[in-house]
Symmetry: C2
Subunit: 314 residues, 2 copies
């Protein structure tokens, strides 16, 4: 894919679609937590509240491209849609492997559900238990790596950091003499100079290339109280989702139930110097989501509401 | 409650609301199976597909009045909404006992789900395993009895028969002389004559009462192949719900997967001489539900489609 403005390879698609931005109490305004991350041709599902498969249908997202699912924790509003989705993929005739990451216990729930219904999946479900206590590299994908982010909630809870791999330099074809053999191009793109038989530089990589785009990154911090030890791991990410269940008027309640306020989410974003903050998981007690936005922007102006159905480029 | 037309006690509310009429493959046209039966002041939930709690919200049905839940079988489209609903009742502060009836294994699924989330329900959930092989009296409620209906599906599956208890006779107050002591009225209503000291009839119950309304009944036949041995148990019910996943053009497929066609559902209704038939659980392969109606009505004219959000008096 070529960007028509620069005549250079365009960014690989890397974007986040909000499927559910509500918290545990069901309402008709918001659905429960689920997000879809698009990276290249792959879909990654992050949490899977009840009804997530219906959200995918509504957004015309084909579940066949789903390859990875990351579950943050075992409160129902973050995973009760998973068994239904896995069942429907099976009904739909899926045969491709699917990779599931989540807390210990998730496998037992799924195994029990499929056993009592006498169901066997027609595809292989790879399950990896995520250590809730330390950051671990979970996935080394051709385009990204995924690392866990230990959060602090009432039960084991993990966020996820999706970090694009470094891009190779761009070749400045217009600067290259026509006489350069095609076989040299790959070497230049890899940053290697072209030498003659005596070891002298014929074509310097630095002269005929420019650095590739800066790798992008998305961090998902699901249910958690304010934890400033997260800041180093989140430093400089392009996009941070951080829960904001409460406003500061309920900061005591937030602490009690291991949730965050909008201001606390913004404070994490500011200290970690992220590019943009998305907040969500709004408690049903608040009728105006703009209150969350105002409170967070007073601390971190580049805050946005997680709005169901909207897609944000990472 | 007095019926203004007859000046007699009106029927106790006994009505069925369809919450989901779809089958296993999720679509944006239909939700998965769930029904709400209102009897007096109690709500009874029958099956609980994914998203049922949202259906209740949409219909403005207060889950606080929910006392009984009957699950037919452990295919996900009939019960994946149950753990979410039970969790939300808990979040909502429920303390009243809740009575759950369903197949063996359902308790294990729920126990596992609540254990891994470290959750304890604030209300008592009474679970009764339903024997899938024979009709059993499951509930003796003040207004109704509930009996199981053994069905034939790919896994253990049970329907439920909700039968109103006989009503007491109506007192014909306008025929009673003003001189009748009030204390006699209850006795007359119970069908007992009032005798004098010598045993002679002073007031004959038959003369001053008329029979109460005929008890009503609703039978729910969830996923099942055509089983004519059901007919005696279903005989004469006012309202029968019978699944109709396929049309006759797919009768072979229906038999293979232990489902019924619209014509088969109608045939059961006709042979059982029921008052009215509701059909549902339509396969997503059919785009016109009226085809189901036409096929069934050719055999049993009093057939109606199960339409989500609509309520039918039993």
């Amino acid at each position: 894919m070529i960007d028509p403005d620069t005549n250079r390879p365009a960014h690989i698609p890397f974007a986040l679609t909000i499927l559910g931005a509500g918290s545990a109490t069901p309402t008709l305004r918001l659905h429960q937590t689920a997000q879809l991350l698009t990276i290249g041709n792959d879909y990654i599902l992050i949490d899977c509240g009840e009804g997530t498969q219906t959200r995918l249908l509504e957004q015309r997202i084909r579940p066949g491209r789903l390859r990875y699912i990351f579950i943050s924790h075992l409160h129902g509003d973050h995973y009760f849609g998973l068994a239904p989705l896995l069942s429907s993929l099976n009904l739909g005739g899926r045969t491709e492997d699917l990779y599931l990451f989540g807390p210990r216990g998730l496998d037992e729930v799924l195994t029990t559900i499929f056993r009592v219904s006498n169901s066997q999946l027609g595809y292989k479900l790879h399950f990896q238990i995520v250590d809730p206590d330390q950051p671990v590299l979970l996935l080394d994908h051709p385009l990204i790596t995924v690392q866990s982010i230990p959060l602090q909630h009432r039960i084991d809870c993990t966020g996820y950091l999706f970090r694009e791999k470094p891009h190779k330099p761009h070749l400045l074809r217009e600067k290259l003499p026509d006489t350069v053999p095609v076989t040299y191009l790959k070497q230049l793109k890899n940053g290697q100079d072209i030498l003659d038989a005596d070891g002298r530089v014929l074509y310097a990589a630095a002269e005929y290339t420019e650095p590739g785009p800066t790798p992008r990154s998305y961090a998902y911090c699901s249910d958690t109280r304010y934890v400033d030890s997260l800041i180093p791991q989140l430093h400089g990410v392009n996009l941070l989702y951080h829960e904001a269940t409460f406003l500061e008027d309920n900061a005591a309640r937030a602490a009690e139930v291991f949730h965050s306020t909008a201001k606390q989410a913004a404070s994490i974003a500011a200290q970690a110097q992220v590019g943009k903050l998305l907040i969500g998981h709004f408690s049903s007690r608040y009728k105006q989501f703009n209150l969350f936005l105002d409170e967070a922007r007073s601390v971190f102006p580049e805050t946005y509401l997680a709005i169901e159905g909207e897609t944000t480029a990472v």
